[in-house]
């Protein structure tokens, strides 16, 4: 019991540190998509809803399962989709229009 709790606490603290390390290197240009993407990651709580579903055996349990699943699914699906929509728009500059059409025009 306590070893399990200690293990989980260690995982928690180390993940926080990894999070600080990785996130602090993200440039301000990408802060909005990053926030939205991190938002999607906490949608992992949908796994919690699944665990609850496997234990539920009463009307209260079903209602809570339904609520948790609906909220978490909105979080995870919407979060990833909207982040992808934003990041898809970040594009590199195309080569200027009239810049040296090298091989296309044989004449």
């Amino acid at each position: 019991m306590t070893t399990q709790l200690f293990g989980n606490l260690a995982i928690f603290v180390l993940s926080l540190l990894v999070g600080f390390e990785v996130i602090s290197k993200i440039p301000t240009t990408l802060h909005t998509p990053m926030m939205s993407g991190a938002n999607a990651i906490h949608g992992v709580v949908v796994a919690g809803a699944i665990v609850i579903a496997s234990e539920a055996d009463s009307p209260v349990g079903y209602a809570l399962t339904f609520a948790a699943a609906a909220l978490a699914a909105a979080n995870v699906s919407g979060g990833f989709v909207v982040t992808d929509r934003m990041l898809r728009m970040f594009t590199r500059a195309k080569a200027p229009a009239g810049a040296t059409p090298t091989t296309k025009d044989p004449s």
């Binding site: 989980n8 992992v44 909105a74 909207v82």
Partner: protein, 472 residues
Amino acid sequence: MTTLTFVIGIVYLLAATLFVLGLHQMRAPSTARRGNLTSALGMAIAIIATIVVALVGSGGNLLAWLALILGAALGAFYGTLRARTVKMTDIPQLVSVFNAVGGGAAAAVAFADFVLNITAVPLGLSTSIPIVLDVLIGSVTFSGSLVAAGKLQGIIPGRPITFRGGRVLNVAIVAFALGAAVLTLLFGQSTLLLVVVLVASLTIGVLMVLPIGGADAPVIVSLLNAFTGLAVAMAGFAIDNQALIIAGALVGAAGTILTLQMAKAMNRSVMNIVLGGFGTGDSTGARSTAQDLTGVRQVTADDVGLQLAYAQHVLIVPGFGLASAQAQHEVADLAKYLIGHNIDVKYAIHPVAGRMPGHMNVLLAEANVPYEQMLQLDDANAAFDNCDVALVVGANDVCNPMARQGGNPVSGMPILDVDNAKSVVVLKRSMSPGYAGIPNPLFTDPKTGMFFADAKQGLTDILAATKEYVAG
């Protein structure tokens, strides 16, 4: 440890690795999209693994699975629909809504875990503490994020909503919630007490965000994002699920860093923002009636067009006014035209331009501006020395030179050194002060021309004028 739990442990570890890798790939615009997909893959793996354990473990109850599937389908439909249809200017609200539902889900999971296990044996503190914390934090985020989204959307007034005795009420209700939480832990059998914690926490969320000005709302959204991360991690402790613990901690870290950076860029402390009552929300121009135009050199679209047509290096400084006028396409059209005529154009973007950090970059990306043209604070400030015309569109405090002097609300705030450019054009509706409520000496600088217009119309007029001079 059975073979199954071992395999699941490994799979969760893989999912967690993918989350970290995904965030790591967000360090550059060229790999960021792949990063998001990497995280999504990790998510899919974690979800499938959890379903397998649940099915093999208990088998569960048909009605419970039905509730899960129905709920998930409904939620996924809503989330995907909103994500596909949202306007890019409304991103901050949507992030806040998704944050709210995440917090709500975490609270629901903890609450259900309490209700479902309480009858069997009294819960040990190592389970009940995370449950109570999760219900507390999750509910605060749920109601708080919804109020913040309402403020950003304009459904709830953006101005700080305060009332006599509001602070006292806040302290009282926080004390009440904590008291109920402690009692729940002491008498680990009472669902009623946990309901009291839940309701009190929902109220705290509302009361906490109402006094916060609309312009501060993004900082609160980010702070609540960190809270949701913690709530999800607590849910992980409660149901002994490492995927939740790791992902929750990662998001907690992300939200914390972003909150601190945002507060720094706005020259405020997080505490000061949370206490609220600052500013009038989105600037309404209510104070602009008594305009003092002494020392102001007014220019027309024609003047600006002439200046731009004969410039070599142009820096555009987009601000909140551009975002709220939704003029990102107009500014991109102007820049594209100038670049097409061999004029060097870049965007100088302050960390808190737009409605939340990096929001301006998203808006410009939407208008097909390549990310190489978006300069961050340090690069932009290096470029102003060599800049012929700096075109400021709807920005104010972020380029107020008074930040370099002491003794005023913007002192020490990192700013764009627009006043280092050879000449400056400010496109703005009026002389009204920005969010900090102080005058901007840049506007009365002899090398600055003020062009009073709506951002969208003003940019269109400037483009038309520029075309005349470039062609002629």
